[in-house]
Subunit: 350 residues, 2 copies
């Protein structure tokens, strides 16, 4: 029998950041697909849409009127999943029925007044405005005593449950720390206590030596397909300096974050020559007033597409009941993303 080869043989990989496993089946990429075909989002939209509830000057469902904003615009979500004025309370029956009231805030962030743009089509200075707004929001929300975690994220594309193509993201901020950052706190803290360095600093060191999973880099950030990636083209954007959250970034680092997001999302769009759907978000320290030196700022990108603009990866039966599974290796995906140009396909040849 041949020796174990991770480019060929089924294996499990450990996610050092959240402590879970993913099953990798490299040989399975040849599987024919006769299932559901996705419909890519329309590629052409007007710069202003009178029916859009996010465009400047328009009236939203609840009667509020958007200002004639020129760069970014943030407001409380009209249908927020979290509300500030939730009365406290708990349920506990024998440890089997357990619940607790949760308070918080939902915010919507418009990235641009232009209805027809997306992050990869915006300029770096314009993305920098979005980064600045994230910083301001994290500062303001994190300062509230009853907000202990601030989740900043974007759902891009109808395939990712986004109901409005106007470029925007969200913030859900709440009293407790949600499961994913809680798991990452456990893993990062254990590593920090043992080594005196952040888990991601040491992980970046390894990846920089190997370079087989690196997608792109600038002076302050790295983008790579993590060793434990679940989604076919999942990436991890990591700060080179082990900062705990975006409020600590220098002005140059904020520019570099905008640059990394722009270059990554352009490569994503260029992968299948469509506006590439994903959910993405920042992971940073809880806003519980603790220092959290173990925390290392990063951003996850979770795109669903697998082999073309119309064939996605389904996380279904085995994945829901067992654990996540992928068909192509992270190394293959990284090489593919690395091979793509950083000029957006819509502007190529113009």
């Amino acid at each position: 029998m041949a020796a174990f080869d991770s480019t060929e043989h089924p294996h499990r990989r450990f996610n050092a950041l959240n402590g879970e496993w993913v099953l990798v089946s490299p040989h399975r990429s040849k599987r024919p697909w006769q299932g559901q075909q996705e419909t890519p989002d329309a590629d052409q939209r007007p710069a202003y849409d009178p029916g859009c509830y996010l465009c400047p000057g328009n009236t939203r469902a609840n009667g509020s009127v958007n200002p004639a904003y020129a760069s970014t615009f943030v407001f409380d979500n009209d249908f927020a999943a979290l509300l500030p004025d939730t009365p406290a309370g708990t349920i506990d029956e024998g440890g089997l029925l357990r619940a607790e009231a949760e308070s918080g805030v939902g915010r919507v962030i418009c990235f641009s007044p232009r209805h027809d743009l997306t992050l990869p089509e915006m300029s770096t200075p314009d993305i920098r405005q979005v980064v600045d707004l994230w910083v301001d929001e994290l500062k303001a929300l994190g300062a509230q005593p009853d907000i202990n975690y601030v989740q900043i994220f974007e759902n891009k594309g109808q395939m990712m449950g986004c109901s409005n193509p106007h470029p925007h993201g969200q913030i859900w901020a709440q009293r407790t720390v949600p499961s994913e950052p809680a798991k990452e706190t456990v893993q990062q803290l254990a590593y920090y206590q043992q080594h005196g360095r952040t888990l991601l600093a040491d992980y970046l060191g390894i990846e920089l030596q190997k370079r087989e999973r690196v997608v792109l880099e600038n002076e302050h950030f790295m983008v790579l397909v993590p060793f434990w990636a679940v989604w076919p083209f999942e990436t991890l954007l990591v700060a080179r300096r082990p900062v705990q959250d975006i409020t600590q970034l220098t002005p140059e680092e904020r520019d570099a974050l905008a640059d990394a997001i722009r270059r990554l999302t352009i490569r994503y769009d260029n992968l299948f020559n469509i506006s590439f759907p994903y959910s993405a978000g920042l992971h940073q320290r809880p806003t519980d007033g603790q220092e959290h030196p173990e925390w290392h700022l990063h951003m996850h990108f979770y795109p669903p597409l697998l082999r073309s603009a119309t064939v996605r990866k389904f996380m279904v039966g085995y994945e829901m009941l067992g654990n996540p599974q992928r068909d192509i290796t992270p190394e293959f995906s990284a090489a593919k993303l690395r091979s793509l140009p950083e000029v957006h396909y819509k502007t190529l040849g113009q």
Copy 2:
């Protein structure tokens, strides 16, 4: 401020079975939906499809010919994610890059020779044949020394990544215990060690008293929307007797399992008058040769639809980066499922 009311106020619920949390936002069910619309699967299919790779007598992609089977039929998946002859091997670089070879088997189970049926349209005796096959497969696979977990599941509907409407399920059996049953082992073991009874036996006791989350029952099984349900119409099918796996079921219990599956899936189809998509699967003790008295046989049903045949729940940005979130309460969903008839909509009025 009013007292905390779980039918009105945002709250978190604890999943006693896997140790994780779900955010519940009852007030949010009124949110308008302008996003992606799903296309229900075609309701009419021929009893035999010459192009189907699962119909009796047909030739599959790899040249194998299906027998002219009359009830169920099982074979090795032609594109299995797990393979028996994987060479052993591990990777470990500083605890940060960790992988291990994984061996296993993938099986496909046809539920019926009829291309046009689904479980809710099959008779109880015919579903019992499927249960019997599950038992046989669990016995045979579980007896292999290098198979320590056998995951039996079904992806139903294109929306759940199913690429062939012929009624069928799958088995992925492997060397290690996947994440979800591993988490359930931890929770069930802790409870059993403390109380000397299974977690689900005591949980069933509470639900039988309250009855607000019960959907249906027979002499040997209960179906309920668990207190911690993530998906809008998620259900948990639980054996009343605390058995560890399906090989321990008596003939009467096997019939009762078929009955419960049939009645539940009919209610599901009747919810929106379509063939209701879901992923479902059995959770039972690992086949590692241990007794596992803490384990209590159950089956999860994870259906994606939220408010109609065309509007699904998206588990995206917040859910992927934070934790699962739902908009209607489990109690509301249970009442809705309880209100539906157990005669399939296609045969109503016939």
